[in-house]
């Protein structure tokens, strides 16, 4: 876990330093554009101030300790304020949209996947399989574009943002909540489709595998009725990979947010990540990637803990035992 975070920080640092030049060169060209020329001494001072003197290893150490000790993620060149101030207000919304989408994704995928496995070869199963294949094959920005097309041709406009103008500045009440839900389903649809499609396939395949196991026949042979049989036996086992998907569904949702946020102008991290990448505002971009990665790592950790709680094989024998 700690090693993973350290590795992520290294990767992010590499990304930050990949483009030629650093924060100070960027500042320098900006001042130059305004007709101000910095002296070499000025530049040297700036470099010391931002920890950009010394070799790469020292720079990394400076950057890393600033984050760990002071929570200082560096300066955003574009927004002209500390990165943490740019990210903080948007992180909440990003997490909210992602977590709600994750829950809805599960709530949809679980019953659909079970239905499709239990009624294998039925018309419903074929429909579900077709739709989930399509959902996996369609990039989510394309879903967003198709959605926009229909929205414009039918309603003449695209509902954007997470709230209507009249509610945006209002304090929290039922009206605002309803308004939020009215807006939220669109990003959810666009972000969640691939997730639902992927999960349905996983659940279906796992359950189909499990339904053919000897323990199902054995339980049937001892008179366990079909309903409880499904619930207590194969579903219990098929639930495990489901939980372990948090690790990959969460980043998928966070990335979907980049696309949707772009089109629907949501107050989330996606749009500013894209903006910062385009303008090579590397501290901001690197920090957002870092935050997203940390969230993913935490998600994976949570799913590992849940898995251990659900599966006695992992709890009692470790992951090695469960794989056998």
């Amino acid at each position: 876990m700690a090693a993973t975070l350290l590795a992520i920080s290294l990767v992010v640092f590499v990304i930050i330093n990949l483009p030629p030049g650093d924060y100070v060169t960027a500042l320098q060209s900006r001042y130059a554009a305004q007709g101000q020329n910095l002296t070499l001494q000025d530049i040297e001072n700036l470099r010391v101030r931002y920890g950009l003197d010394g070799n790469l290893l020292q720079q990394y150490w400076h950057w890393f300790t600033q984050i760990v000790v002071h929570g200082d993620l560096g300066m955003s060149f574009e927004h002209e304020k500390p990165v943490s101030q740019v990210i903080a207000p948007r992180l909440g919304w990003t997490l909210a949209v992602s977590v709600i989408t994750l829950l809805v994704t599960w709530a949809l995928a679980f019953p659909i996947g079970i239905y499709s496995a239990v009624k294998q070869h039925s018309v419903g199963d074929y429909a579900v399989t077709t739709v989930s294949f399509l959902g996996l094959a369609t990039p989510n920005f394309l879903i967003a574009l198709v959605f926009i097309y229909f929205s414009v041709t039918w309603f003449g406009s695209v509902p954007s943002g997470l709230c209507s103008p009249e509610w945006c500045d209002a304090s929290w009440n039922l009206g605002k909540l309803l308004d939020l839900l009215g807006h939220l389903w669109i990003p959810m649809l666009v972000i969640g489709t691939a997730g639902v499609a992927g999960l349905v396939r996983i659940i279906r395949n796992n359950l189909l595998d499990e339904l053919r196991r000897p323990y199902v026949t054995a339980a049937r042979a001892r008179g366990v009725p079909e309903g409880p049989l499904l619930r207590r036996y194969p579903l219990r086992v098929a639930l495990n990979p489901f939980v372990s998907t948090i690790g990959w569904v969460l980043p998928l949702l966070l990335v979907g947010d980049i696309v949707v946020g772009q089109i629907l102008s949501l107050p989330t991290l996606g749009p500013i990540l894209l903006g910062s990448l385009k303008s090579q505002d590397m501290y901001l971009a690197g920090s957002i990637i870092m935050v997203l990665s940390v969230v993913t790592v935490i998600g994976t950790l949570i799913s590992d803990l849940l898995l251990g709680w659900l599966d006695p094989r992992i709890r009692l024998m470790g992951a090695q035992g469960a794989r056998q």
Partner: protein, 340 residues
Amino acid sequence: MEQPLLEISGLHTSFGTYDGKVRAVDGVDLSVHAGRTLCVVGESGCGKSVTARSILRLVEEPGSIDAGTITWNGDLLEGTGEPFDVLALDPKDKRLQKLRGGDIGMIFQEPAASLLPLRTVGAQLVETLRIHTGLDKKAARAKAIELLDTVGIPDAGRRVDAYPFQLSGGMCQRVMIAIALCANPSLLIADEPTTALDVTTQARILDLIRSLQAEHHMAVMFITHDLGVVAELADEVAVMYLGRVVERASVEELFADPKHPYTKALLASVPVLGRDRGRDLPTIPGAVPGPLHRPGGCSFHPRCAEAIAGTCDVEAPPEVDFGGGRTAECVLYETEEART
């Protein structure tokens, strides 16, 4: 002859595959008598397991039971009800539910895989007990520990909370037997229960089944490919080849005077201590043909030492009845039947 406990007649079970329909069981007649042991013996792929599974209607997609009747006379013998055809029951019929795990207990080839790894053996045992006996949780748990003790699991009070993966294969099979015994069944179907176990464990499990059978007055239908097991356990024997019963006999008759050439070949291929020293064990030439390409006429004729050209490869052999439940499906005895 007295009314059998279970009568299978004209059973046909098949599996749809990419290459066509595989007739795994192709017209099987069998009967099991109360308190007695029937061994069904044959090479792998002969349809013996599928026959056993068909009894409790456990054949799963893409398999299906196409024809036949399976008559359960258990209720009649106990005086609690009428005989009924298991295959004609609605899947939701209470009688099917009672049959599965209630009147008929069943154990399988892979004991460890037959238990759900995520629940303790106790939980799975208690579940079955409560379904068939209506005991409350506490009583069921006490009964579960008692049952585990009966099947010879040491320290049953502690083992009841163990997960299947913490127990050995032999222990798991004992647990499966305990589950099968939950509701004092009148028939135990054992589908190669010792195949996956090592030899010493195998012997102990066989001893356990025998002693439990005596104690509970159960009938046992034992599916095996092992003639040694047959000699040890069986009262009656049915020999299967490619989905059909080719010979029926009591265990003494079978070993003393096998009729069907296949049975003879099977018996000849069993090593006997002393006799076989220094010589090659006889084997049956060829292999079991794929069930898709069943030979015409008698399905055993390509491997049969006594096959009669022009007869065995053309006509399906008749079932010759020698009386006393003894039959063989072979043209060699056709004249004999005419005599008797």
